[in-house]
């Protein structure tokens, strides 16, 4: 029950001592309340399910149920109810007159009225009388009303898909393979043998898509959450398309896919008056082959060469994660402790040997351990002041190895010994003040320091043909050093005292400094462009401002809008580059200033319960302003330097959603979205780089019609399209995509028996991509049938 104030509690304690000597400890509360004001107990026999349970459910269990009961007093089962809570015993069987529960619900104890007026209505005299009778008659608790249930549902599914055209593209876009498919669409077994114990087994098992989750939870004791998830991500194996050279985009002819999964088990203690403790283990993995966009050329003629040949990468990634969480509250301070340790292993190899005349293979392996720990504290100091603070420390130690082979060039580069270290300290404080007459202010500051070191030793081998014995190895060393400090400040103000409206304004600032050095050291220049030493001092000033409003002046109208400006101004101060030849990485960029402006507006109209529509509009623009140094190569002026608008992005998004129930048996919804965007760069004067420009369209429509008492019809239509195809065949490889995709689904669901329902659905998919020369086009038809068994 709600805790009474200190004075009342003290009186109660004194009364308890005095009265215990006379009437025994079970009747101690009688002295506090004027029991003469109690209504009489109901004279008739009380039926728990009919008379009492509705009262408990309506007025008590919201706070005094099995989960986090107020004052640790529960009214969801007899044993717990008789046990009482923090304030002692509340129900005295056979003695309703002296049962504190009756005093509370009859509003006889000041500041301890139950239910509190702000949370529920006062019980009627009749209800109090029934409760009295129930206690007087021995607190009979109908065992049948106890939660003791076993729910089971299982949905087997079987069907098939036929695809004409590029089945690999179909797999990529639909996350499934063509042909027969089936299994368990969903299964769930939920057992609750007692109000405090719950066991749930749920998941699905389809072809290349599995999920099993087991959860056991015991109130006031602990929990175990465990599971396994694996699904297959498919990739199309098509490369680029250049209509001048090839009539159809080249393909690898491989089934590219990654199996992505995780296994986890988290267990924890949730004991009363103890911190919440959780220990967990997780294994994440990705195994298989993925498509790359790093294509290779099909010929070596520099005039007609276009990189079109697809490439793939094999990935074997395994991560073991240990987690420890602790949550506690001490003297009003909420403490959150989180630790995460990751053991990471990666073996990856990518190649374009299959199709290109200049094959190259790269393989690398990485292992690391990263430990990260945070401690956060939160406290509500008063009704208007809330504060929090946090500290994070993380450390990463990695070992890597790398090998690059270019057989046509007779080059092998190996870096067998790479060590990487990264360490971070982060601290922050945050405050929330208000509301003061509708004004809420939140503010925060965060500081971060990060240091990273990288070292590597390798060998470059160049064979002179023929014979291959004339190779000469050149050892080299790699090094990088990175020190970052940053400070971030934020302030947000919201004002909600205006009738039917609220205003907000936010500001975030960040200052960042990085001292960086990079080095490639070798006895001679190798790899054409490698040997150098560079020190760079980087600094940036970031600012982000946003203001807007939200209003709902009528029940059927709501409107919100905001404007945002984001600016990130970076300065690069580099020492003169040390290099034996003018082919190393140049440091010509002096500054880069990104400025983003953003406007968003949303109108919601809800004129009736049967109709609701939302209209949204967004406008974004980003400018990339640069300053570059004059650049000379072997005494020749390559670039005069100066200010440059390097690029500009613009985008507008129009969205509309409708939900409509013209008949009680018919529900329709639709979402339409149109986006138009452009990116233009300073390099756009070159025929090889035309502006990226186009539109995308999305339409989602679905509806459900209740045909009769047992049958529903449903249908949906999905459409998306883009027209970013660029006509720059003469100057370069056109890379913008043009496609149209249609998906139609129709079906019916029918309740066959009380516990059995069935669903039959047909789906048609059509994908056309002119920008791949039709190589990715496909049409697919699918029929699936599903049964659902549900018990009880």
């Amino acid at each position: 029950m709600k805790q009474p104030p200190n004075s009342a509690r003290r009186i109660r304690q004194i009364s308890r001592c005095l009265l215990a000597a006379f009437v025994g400890s079970q009747h101690i509360f009688a002295a506090e309340a004027d029991v003469s004001k109690l209504p009489p107990a109901a004279a008739r026999p009380v039926d728990f399910a009919r008379d009492i349970q509705p009262i408990l459910e309506t007025s008590c269990l919201r706070c005094h149920g099995p989960e986090h009961p107020k004052s640790k007093f529960r009214l969801d089962n007899r044993a717990a109810a008789l046990k009482g809570g923090d304030e002692g015993v509340d129900i005295l069987p056979g003695n309703s007159t002296h049962s504190p529960l009756i005093h509370y619900v009859a509003y006889l104890v000041g500041d301890a009225e139950m239910p509190p007026l702000e949370k529920g209505k006062q019980l009627t005299t009749e209800q109090v009388s029934l409760l009295r009778a129930w206690i007087d008659q021995g607190v009979v608790w109908d065992a049948g009303s106890q939660t003791n249930q076993l729910d089971f549902s299982f949905s087997p599914v079987l069907g098939g898909t036929t695809v004409s055209g590029d089945n690999h593209k179909f797999r990529e876009l639909n996350s499934q393979k063509e042909g027969l498919n089936g299994g368990g669409e969903h299964f769930e077994l939920c057992e609750q043998p007692s109000p405090d114990l719950k066991r749930v087994l749920t998941g699905h098992a389809l072809l290349d898509d599995y999920l099993v989750v087991l959860s056991v939870e015991q109130n006031d004791l602990g929990f175990i959450h465990s599971g396994w998830q694996e699904y297959r991500k498919y990739y199309d194996d098509t490369g680029g398309y250049f209509p001048v050279l090839n009539q159809i985009a080249p393909s690898l002819g491989h089934d590219l896919h990654l199996d992505i999964g995780k296994v986890w088990i988290d267990s924890g203690l949730n004991l009363p008056d103890w911190p919440r403790l959780e220990l967990g283990y997780e294994y994440d993995y990705r195994h298989g082959d993925e498509a790359l966009t790093e294509w290779s050329t099909l010929n070596i003629n520099r005039t007609t060469a276009r990189n079109l040949a697809p490439a793939s990468k094999s990935i074997n990634e395994n991560v073991h994660v240990i987690k420890f969480n602790l949550d506690a509250e001490i003297k009003g301070v909420a403490i959150e402790e989180r630790f995460r340790g990751e053991f990471y292993q990666l073996a990856a190899a990518n190649t374009n040997v299959a199709l290109g005349p200049l094959p190259q293979s790269a393989s690398e392996g990485t292992t690391y351990f990263q430990g990260a720990n945070t401690l956060r504290l939160e406290k509500k100091f008063s009704g208007w002041c809330f504060g929090s603070a946090g500290y994070l420390y993380s450390k990463l130690d990695a070992d890597s190895a790398f090998r690059l082979e270019a057989p046509t060039l007779l080059q092998i580069t190996t870096v067998p010994d790479i060590t990487l270290e990264k360490e971070s300290h982060v601290g922050n404080v945050n405050g929330l003040l208000g509301p003061f007459a509708g004004l809420v202010i939140s503010t925060g500051a965060q500081a971060e320091w990060t240091r990273q070191r990288g070292l590597g030793t390798g060998i470059f081998e160049q064979a002179n043909p023929p014979p291959a014995l004339n190779n000469f190895p050149v050892p080299f060393n790699l090094a990088s050093d990175y020190d970052e400090t940053s400070v971030q400040e934020s302030l947000a103000v919201r004002y909600a005292q205006i009738p039917f409206a609220s205003l907000f304004a936010e500001a975030r600032l960040e200052q960042q400094n990085i001292a960086q050095s990079d080095q490639f050291a070798a006895a001679q220049d190798i790899l054409g462009k490698a040997v150098f030493l560079q020190h760079t001092a980087f600094s940036s000033e970031l600012s982000d401002f946003r203001f807007g409003f939200s209003t709902s002046p009528w029940r059927s109208v709501s409107f919100s809008a905001h404007y945002r400006r984001h600016e990130d101004d970076s300065q690069y101060a580099s020492d003169p580059l040390v290099q034996p030849t003018a082919t190393a990485y140049p440091t010509f960029i002096r500054s880069l200033d990104l400025i983003t402006d953003e406007i968003e507006a949303k109108l919601v109209l809800h004129p009736s319960a049967r109709f609701k529509t939302t209209l949204a509009y967004e406008y974004h623009t980003t400018e990339y302003n640069m300053a570059t140094s004059p650049y000379l190569s072997f005494g020749n002026l390559i670039s005069p330097g100066g200010q440059l608008l390097a690029g500009e992005d613009q985008a507008q998004i129009f969205s509309l959603s409708l939900t409509l129930t013209p008949l009680q048996r018919l529900f329709l919804s639709a979402t339409l979205s149109y986006q138009t965007s452009t990116t233009a760069t300073a390099a756009g004067n070159s025929p090889a780089v035309v502006p990226y420009r186009g539109d995308t369209y999305s339409v989602l429509v679905d509806g459900t019609f209740v045909l009769n008492q047992t049958t529903d019809l449903f249908a949906s239509y999905v459409f998306s399209a883009a027209n970013y195809g660029q006509n720059n065949f003469a100057g370069g490889l056109p890379l913008g995509i043009q496609y149209q995709r249609h998906g139609v689904q129709v079906g019916l669901s029918r309740k066959l028996r009380k516990n059995i329902s069935a669903k039959l659905q047909y789906r048609f998919d059509c994908y056309n991509e002119p920008s791949s020369g039709g190589a990715d086009n496909y049409q697919a038809h699918a029929i699936f049938g599903l049964l659902t068994f549900q018990f009880p």
Binding site: Q192, R302, L432, A496, S558, G642, T671, S686, S720
Partner: protein
């Protein structure tokens, strides 16, 4: 050929409303009390207000006034359920009524499990999830919560202290291969993954903002020498012919876009 396919598709698409209309006529005279299930509605529930939610969900509501979602909060707005807890979780009366019986979860919307709740406001995001390349959110392989903390101070990061630092920590727990350290890192990662990738969905492979060299040339540009306006200089080198092969990373050059353990210009 193409027209005939479109015609077939059109006739198929037109079939659904005809079937529905026929069914409607056939059943118009029947006496039936079933109604269509409207998504994201909790039948029979009514709005109770934020204060009631705060009674139990203290940990979620404590810092919520500082959350970006609180921007929408209207203390005295007229449209019911348009702001506050119930704007996302639905009307709470039945959830509260069931809270003592262990069935409360069935009577509240949980955006952490059903992304449709988030999509009902974030329409542009819903559209992006239907683009050819997208995170498998609507497919149920993941949801919004691993990337967004809807109740916390920063909605662009997942909940919990471990995300308090490191700009790309939102993406790193799943994309470790790309966010691991390298000897020579791509400084663009300091601006965040979203400078180059659309996080929800994209029409381009690898969920890129753009599939061509414009993506890189926004930040990598150099003032050309006088009289060479049609040539593209980057780092003092004339890239004009290289750019014709494809994009900066598909043209066989800067393939190590996230970082390189060999060359600072991200060559492999």
């Amino acid at each position: 050929m193409r027209r005939s396919k479109i015609a077939r598709f059109g006739s198929l698409a037109g079939l659904a409303p005809v079937v529905a209309a026929g069914a409607l006529l056939l059943n118009s005279c029947s006496t039936m009390d079933r109604t269509a299930v409207v998504p994201l509605q909790i039948e029979g529930a009514s709005y109770v207000g934020d204060k009631v939610c705060a009674d139990c969900h203290v940990n979620l509501t404590r810092a919520f006034p500082a959350s970006p979602h609180a921007r929408l909060h209207l203390a005295n707005g007229q449209m019911a359920g348009q702001s506050g807890c119930e704007a996302c979780h639905g009307p709470g009366s039945k959830h509260i009524a069931e809270s003592g019986r262990g069935g409360a979860d069935k009577f509240i919307l949980n955006p952490g499990k059903d992304p449709q709740v988030c999509c009902s406001c974030h329409l542009e995001t819903q559209a992006e999830f239907h683009f050819p390349q997208h995170h498998p959110v609507l497919e149920g392989k993941m949801n919004c919560v691993p990337c967004h903390d809807p109740h916390g101070l920063d909605i662009l990061k997942p909940a919990g202290g471990l995300a308090m630092a490191r700009l790309n920590e939102t993406c790193a727990p799943c994309h470790r291969e790309q966010t691991r350290p390298f000897i020579f890192e791509h400084p663009a990662l300091r601006e965040g993954c979203t400078v180059c990738h659309r996080p929800h969905g994209s029409i381009n492979a690898k969920m890129l903002v753009e599939p061509d060299s414009n993506l890189c040339l926004r930040c990598h540009a150099q003032v050309p020498e006088p009289g060479a306006a049609q040539r593209v200089f980057i780092g003092g080198r004339d890239h004009t012919s290289s750019l014709a092969f494809g994009s900066c990373w598909t043209a066989g050059c800067h393939t190590a876009v996230h970082g390189s353990n060999l060359q600072p210009i991200l060559l492999y």
